[in-house]
């Protein structure tokens, strides 16, 4: 049983050095199982976002190799990144359109996806008419429209208020379970990582590399404030602080 055949996302010895000389990632090995929800946490400069960009194919690694199930991964950003010139439904249709899906099928699929994020009745609105949380759900629907097996999420709920974020955790968990997706989720919020992940991976900063992994044993559905989530979050945070202190001086 090798990593290559088993993993939905496999990084082997991945390094990324920017032209300026900054080493964002240094020899990262990471295997995400199909259907697994993996959260990456780390302080600033740990190369979390760089890592997602590499997996998404938006950037190329300096060394190492990356394999993604199905050859592509759908990316969800911290900002909804919806197109303001399109209506909500049309936004969800974009990935389908780019793959050459016909108009009628596109409509139906977009409606179904908006239904999935419980926004069936806003298809004809403009993105700016929606609240931040609703926009991020539209972005999730659009990400699902890629029909990719792997979802990459770069702090997608960081800009939302606590209550909306809580509700969206439930939503994301449901969608992930229903659709049997593999998720690689970047966040700087340790509690969020423990709330959502099967596994939490801690990255060191400058250069970014994996320093520790935590299996999240707490049964789902979890609450952000439940004792076992809080306990593990405390342990991860402790380790993270240790790592941050290392950079003093």
């Amino acid at each position: 049983m090798t990593v290559a055949t088993e993993a939905a996302v496999a990084l082997r010895g991945v390094s990324k050095r920017y032209p300026g000389g900054t080493v964002a990632l240094d020899g990262v090995d990471l295997a995400v199982k199909p259907g697994e929800f993996v959260c990456l946490v780390g302080a600033s400069g740990c190369g979390k976002s760089t890592l997602l960009n590499l997996v998404a194919g938006l950037d190329a690694p300096t060394a190492g190799s990356i394999d993604v199930e199905g050859g592509r991964a759908a990316f969800m950003f911290q900002e909804p990144a919806l197109f303001p010139w399109l209506k909500v439904g049309q936004n969800v249709e974009v990935p389908l359109k780019l793959r050459g899906v016909g108009r009628t099928e596109r409509r139906a699929r977009a409606a179904e996806l908006l239904e999935t994020v419980r926004l069936a009745d806003v298809a004809d609105k403009r993105p700016h008419e929606l609240s931040g949380g609703m926009r991020q759900r539209v972005a999730l629907a659009r990400t699902l429209a890629h029909d990719a097996r792997v979802l990459l999420m770069d702090e997608p709920f960081a800009a939302l208020d606590a209550m909306t974020r809580d509700a969206l955790h439930d939503e994301l968990e449901r969608v992930w379970l229903e659709r049997n997706l593999t998720v690689l989720f970047v966040t700087h919020n340790v509690s969020e990582a423990v709330r959502l992940g099967d596994r939490v991976i801690l990255l060191a900063s400058r250069p970014g590399r994996v320093i520790e992994e935590f299996e999240v044993e707490a049964p789902r559905p979890r609450r952000l404030d439940s004792p076992d989530v809080a306990a593990l979050a405390g342990r991860v945070t402790e380790r993270l602080k240790e790592e941050v202190r290392r950079h003093v001086g």
Partner: protein, 297 residues
């Protein structure tokens, strides 16, 4: 393998509760405001009406001071009746038609050329290095300076005017495209690329539409340049029988019909203002649809 992973973490959260919670949050955060259309129209109109009244009054006062004889500088009380008389005769409208036809055709061709050149230069770094500053340079060239060459090349006539209109307006449009492409939010480009767009499809799906506001600004400037070029052209290029508003301006001056001359000037001004209004309306409609701003007042 994946089925095994799945089985140990079923038991999803109580979904009805989450649904209700989300619906509540959605309702709280989306407000729909509608302003009274009529009042808004009145609020934006009355200052303009007032400005026109003041301008006309100032004009009348200047005439009353006797600074120039009334036979040369006609007062509004003579110009507007003269204008009305022109407007009610058919030949005047055919002059307006001739001018507008030149304007629209020249502008349309300039837009087509400007868009093609703009996107080509934006897309290919080599072209940009070569022609980028040339396009900006061309824009600073006063269009009237092209006329001697145009007249020589085309021996006067419509083609000379057409040539100058296109040269005056196309660089503005191309510059608008360049500005627009430069200011496309990188995040949207990343989203587009992740969705599978690249090369031409990236331009069609993301970069083109995202640069539309700047392109619109370029179109507006291009129109202003082509309208000026056209008026200059009709005044100085010998176009024979075809006519147009500029020709009419020359004609009324030659015939010492100064009230009519001022009337033609007013028509030229009004057409300019109307065209500007069209662009302003388009810009506002765009901003409203994109949610770029709500209110500037």
């Amino acid at each position: 393998m994946s089925a095994e992973v799945r089985s140990e973490k079923t038991a999803p959260a109580p979904q009805d509760e989450v649904a209700a919670e989300l619906a509540g949050l959605d309702a709280l955060e989306t407000t729909s405001e509608r302003s009274a259309r009529g009042r808004q129209l009145w609020r934006s109109t009355w200052p303009k009406v007032l400005a026109i009244v003041i301008s006309i009054a100032a004009w009348q006062i200047v005439v009353e001071t006797g600074w120039r004889p009334r036979s040369i500088l006609a007062p509004p009380t003579e110009v507007f009746p003269a204008l009305w008389e022109m407007l009610t005769t058919g030949s005047f409208w055919s002059q307006v038609g001739t001018t507008m036809q030149r304007a629209l055709l020249g502008f349309a061709v300039a837009v087509a050329i400007g868009l093609v050149i703009g996107f080509a230069v934006a897309r290919f770094a080599v072209l940009r290095a070569a022609f980028g500053s040339l396009i900006t340079g061309l824009q600073t060239m006063p269009s009237i300076a092209w006329f001697p060459l145009a007249i020589v090349l085309f021996r006067g006539g419509d083609s000379a005017i057409f040539f100058v209109i296109v040269l005056g307006a196309a660089p503005s449009v191309a510059n608008g495209v360049l500005a627009g492409v430069d200011y496309v939010p990188p995040l949207l480009v990343r989203a587009g690329r992740n969705m599978g767009a690249s090369g031409l499809s990236l331009y069609r799906t993301v970069i083109g539409p995202a640069s539309f506001p700047a392109i619109l600004a370029g179109l507006k400037q291009g129109w202003a340049f082509s309208w000026r070029s056209l008026m200059a052209g009709e005044l100085i290029v010998p176009i024979g029988e075809a006519g147009g508003l500029g020709t009419l301006l020359t004609l009324t001056r030659d015939l010492a019909e100064y009230a009519q001359m001022l009337g033609v000037m007013i028509v030229i001004l009004v057409i300019g203002i109307l065209a500007d209004g069209v662009f302003g309306w388009a810009n506002n409609a765009l901003r409203r649809r994109w949610g770029l701003d709500v209110d500037h007042s």
